[in-house]
């Protein structure tokens, strides 16, 4: 039998689990020989409170490897995550939600109460709707990444993560070695042509298509940043490259930054703006600047905008 493994999902969309299933042929040997999955609510039937609900406390079986996807958004997530930490020797945060907050952490940029009221009781909702308070786990004050709440031993970002890298991490864990993960930026894996900076002084929104000759390979297209598009390659960690180039750029679309910052505690917004300004681009041409943190809004990066207090009243 293989290494006992528990999978768990918190505030997640199940895209990470689909990425696991996307490993391909290697998956067969992984789940039959390498791993012995003892708990995975999304893939198999194993309940928290006993199979017939007879238990009173949340229980997850002991496992050597724990794989957690999704961020920590409410009390239930927190409880499950803490139980996972207790029962697993090695805890792996899989996917950008678990490592940096991901899409749900966009909520951190707004006032929570206002958002909840907006969702449940705007003019367009039928009367009688109110913010639920029973049978729904209460939300935390903001969306957290897993490593803000418990110790995480290994992180693998991506939205979704690259199946190849998931395979690499699992095999490395089973073999007891450190997995080889990319540590440089998306640009490092990008084959597009760089012809020199300084041709543009503003970034464009991605409303028109980028310039390229249809039918030609990706390495004959010019760097999208040099074309003036807001490509987040420089501030995003590599890992998405599957067939010769980063996924989005291979589809002739600028990088959206879904793998999170290059360094674990990097700040995509700050680094991107610094990069633009240092190269003579107008940072004010970026529309909705804060959304650059669309994948890494946890760790207190994305906060509601402070309402300015009139001078003199601050004291």
């Amino acid at each position: 039998m293989g290494v006992t493994t528990a999978l768990e999902w918190l505030g997640s969309c199940s895209g990470c689990e689909i990425a696991i299933l996307n490993i391909g042929e290697d998956l067969v040997s992984l789940i039959t020989e390498t791993l012995n999955i003892v708990h995975a609510p999304i893939l198999m039937d194993h309940k928290y409170f006993g199979q017939c609900g007879e238990g009173v406390t949340l229980e997850i079986p002991e496992a050597v490897v724990g794989i957690v996807t999704g961020g920590v958004n409410n009390r239930e997530h927190l409880e499950v995550l803490q139980e996972m930490r207790k029962k697993c020797k090695v805890l792996l945060a899989l996917g950008t939600c678990a490592t940096h907050g991901g899409i749900p952490a966009l909520m951190n940029g707004q006032d929570q109460l206002e958002s909840w009221e907006g969702i449940f009781s705007t003019v367009s909702t039928d009367p009688g709707a109110e913010i639920p308070n029973v049978e729904v786990p209460p939300p935390l004050d903001r969306v957290y990444a897993c490593d803000e709440k418990v110790k995480i031993d290994m992180q693998l970002p991506g939205c979704p993560p690259n199946p190849e890298l998931i395979g690499e991490v699992i095999v490395a864990l089973a073999e007891g070695r450190v997995p080889v993960l990319p540590g440089k930026s998306v640009c490092d894996t990008c084959p597009t042509k760089r012809e020199g900076k300084g041709m543009v002084d503003k970034v464009k929104r991605f409303i028109n298509n980028v310039e390229f000759k249809p039918g030609t390979p990706i390495d004959e297209m010019r760097c999208l940043l040099e074309q003036g598009y807001m490509c987040m390659g420089p501030v995003t960690v590599a890992g998405c490259a599957k067939r010769g180039g980063p996924s989005c750029i291979s589809a002739r679309v600028p990088c959206r930054g879904c793998f999170g910052p290059v360094r674990r505690d990097g700040n995509q917004l700050l680094d991107m703006m610094n990069g633009l300004v240092s190269n003579g681009l107008d940072f004010k041409s970026v529309v909705d600047r804060r959304s650059v943190l669309r994948f890494s809004g946890a760790h207190g990066r994305l906060r509601p905008v402070k309402k300015r207090v009139a001078r003199g009243k601050v004291k």
Binding site: D271, M273, F283, R289, V305, K315
Partner: protein
């Protein structure tokens, strides 16, 4: 107790740090709230330095460099200037007031300007209150 802010001042080796030195030699008085960090050039102050300082409890950050056109590395202070607007604006995004950051040009023979800049910054931060002050009060 009155509020004594902590202010981090990034001074370039060639002008503003020398000015601070000269202010000391002249025994000029200036607020003790400022902590000087010497760098080779104001152009090497990455915005992350500023954000890190504020997130770790500094109440204000100053960057002091050579006058424009007098940079030891020719255009380092132009870079600092390009960045400063961006840093000030991004501070708001991260929940700090723009006034917590300032950029000043001071040559090595202008200790009076250094003293003035530090005094003014300290006064303005004192008026602004501690960093993340509102949250601190709630706790």
């Amino acid at each position: 107790m009155s509020f004594e802010p902590k202010i981090i001042a990034f001074c370039c080796n060639w002008c503003s740090y020398a000015a601070a030195d000269l202010a000391g030699i002249h025994r000029m008085q200036y607020p003790h709230n400022v902590r000087i960090i010497r760098l080779m050039c104001s152009g090497m102050v990455h915005p992350e330095f500023v954000m890190d300082a504020l997130s770790q409890g500094a109440d204000g950050v100053m960057v002091l460099g050579c006058h424009l056109g007098e940079c030891h590395y020719r255009d380092g202070n132009y870079r600092a200037m390009d960045r400063s607007d961006m840093v000030a604006e991004l501070l708001e995004d991260f929940g700090y007031e723009q006034e917590r950051f300032s950029l000043t040009w001071v040559s090595s023979q202008e200790p009076d300007k250094f003293v003035k800049a530090v005094t003014e910054m300290t006064a303005s931060i004192k008026e602004l209150g501690p960093v993340n002050g509102e949250q601190a009060e709630v706790v």
